[in-house]
Assembly symmetry: C2
Homo-oligomer: 330 residues x 2
Amino acid sequence: MSKRSTDILFDVVGIGNAIVDVLAFTDEAFLTRHRLNKNTMTLVDEARAEAVYRKMGQTTECSGGSVANTLAGMASLGARTAFIGKVKNDQLGSIFIHDLHAVGVHFSTMPLESGPSTANCLVCVTPDAHRTMATFIGACSQVAEEDIDEEIIAHASVVYIEGYLWDTENAKAAIRKAITLAKETGRKIAFTLSDVFCVDRHRAEFLELIKNDIDILFANEAELKSLYQTDDVEQGLSQLKGACPVAAVTRSERGSVVLSANGVETVPTEPVARIVDTTGAGDLYASGFLFGFTRGRDLSACAALGNRCAGEIIQQLGARSMRPLKNLVA
Amino acid sequence: MSKRSTDILFDVVGIGNAIVDVLAFTDEAFLTRHRLNKNTMTLVDEARAEAVYRKMGQTTECSGGSVANTLAGMASLGARTAFIGKVKNDQLGSIFIHDLHAVGVHFSTMPLESGPSTANCLVCVTPDAHRTMATFIGACSQVAEEDIDEEIIAHASVVYIEGYLWDTENAKAAIRKAITLAKETGRKIAFTLSDVFCVDRHRAEFLELIKNDIDILFANEAELKSLYQTDDVEQGLSQLKGACPVAAVTRSERGSVVLSANGVETVPTEPVARIVDTTGAGDLYASGFLFGFTRGRDLSACAALGNRCAGEIIQQLGARSMRPLKNLVA
């Protein structure tokens, strides 16, 4: 990529875990038997992943990864995006790379040639359409500072980072480098809290990040409550007020709430015909929101598009839309 | 498995290609550009598979293979089934094995440790929900006589074989062995014509097989017309009459036709709410039909259950039902 530091080549560059999802319908008892906390993500080693997988029913495989899902959604809406993350040079890695390239996401991080396999996330979808995840982080654990392509960061309007990355030390170093670069070049930094237990593991660091570095924060109600250690969403929202320039909190069928210098606005969402699987709802909300944001729309329009994208993805299995999302852009 | 040749341990043992499907929505022009004949299966080498895959949009991966799909469907209905087919010991092979075991299909064919990768089938689903396939046959080409487990054949009521196997010489030898064994132990032999071009490639051999070996034949209208080289389904049906003891011809929304010593019966099917993807319609028809057959139901009841299973699978993406099919058994 040629060095022309003032050009914007990408609306968003995202840094995240490169994961292939393995989805199956299970009952609630399955979650209990395998000690998985409903609606959350549990990190598992290869042996435990294997044990859960062995007992899962018929599966469907589909590329995943929170930030990667968001970027694929944005590309499908018509945005220019780039992804940084680590797969291995194996069959699942090839699928992951294919699926980003297929929708036009720039992705050139070097795959691992040896070491752990491409990450997979076992997604258990219960009869209420909620998803509970067990993630074997595999090759993702090897993403490092040298994978942060300075040229890409310098040429993107927004750098988008997932909280999940905080679980590995070299990923954290990579993120720090990206944040420093983004600040030097005057780019916006967006961040998702990712998961309630992820927030629980890294609360102090996340609060520091939000205070010092983050321009746009994404969270759902549970993550917000975990962040501020409260049982009351309203209290969480009032603590979030002013914590960073823009925050968007998703509230499932109640739409989303946007907090900014202009105050707090609730943006309702349309009811959905048939909810199949909530996997990717938050990720696709971020797709719509960031698409609007990078096009200079007002924040309530960003939230409305986020709501629509989330509403779309929960009507299918998996977090990557099998149909183009362009028609959702009003 | 202990040698007790009179016991029936499996309702059906199936021999077929072990394939992972890679599904994407494409337009009709995509088929033309890649020289794929709509509604049929084209065999492609690795380079051509790669070229098509590179241009396919967002994909979903799901285990496939015609006979394997039928067995998975039967197991989901409550039958005891076994599969013989060849994967490689790679990530897609593991997914294929997992998905059969997950629904309770016995599968113990030794995977390849070297040589071609597990087969994949690129499935292009056009806006009319029809599927067009490009198959890289990979490890399947290595299935051979020694993979035919005599004990399994001897303990299954029905041996089910796919026409697709006729494309490789060693698979053909394996099938001949299975047919001989099945006849020796007095088992029924079921066969699917698989695909219109497959029939075209092997017409003479298929006609011989039907005459000498097959007890139950599955075909769709196009395959029937190709078999007897006629443009007229009715003429095809009249030629099929008496060609083998039982034949079931699927006719999409018009249900299916059963031919037997009792005459010709048309069994209508219920309309379906929303057709997403016709992949697996024929395979799941065979699941329902053979499930009924191995339980001694009359042929019209077998066809009706086949119709219901086909109607179910076309409402989702891919040929493996993500939900148990048991409730379809009246």
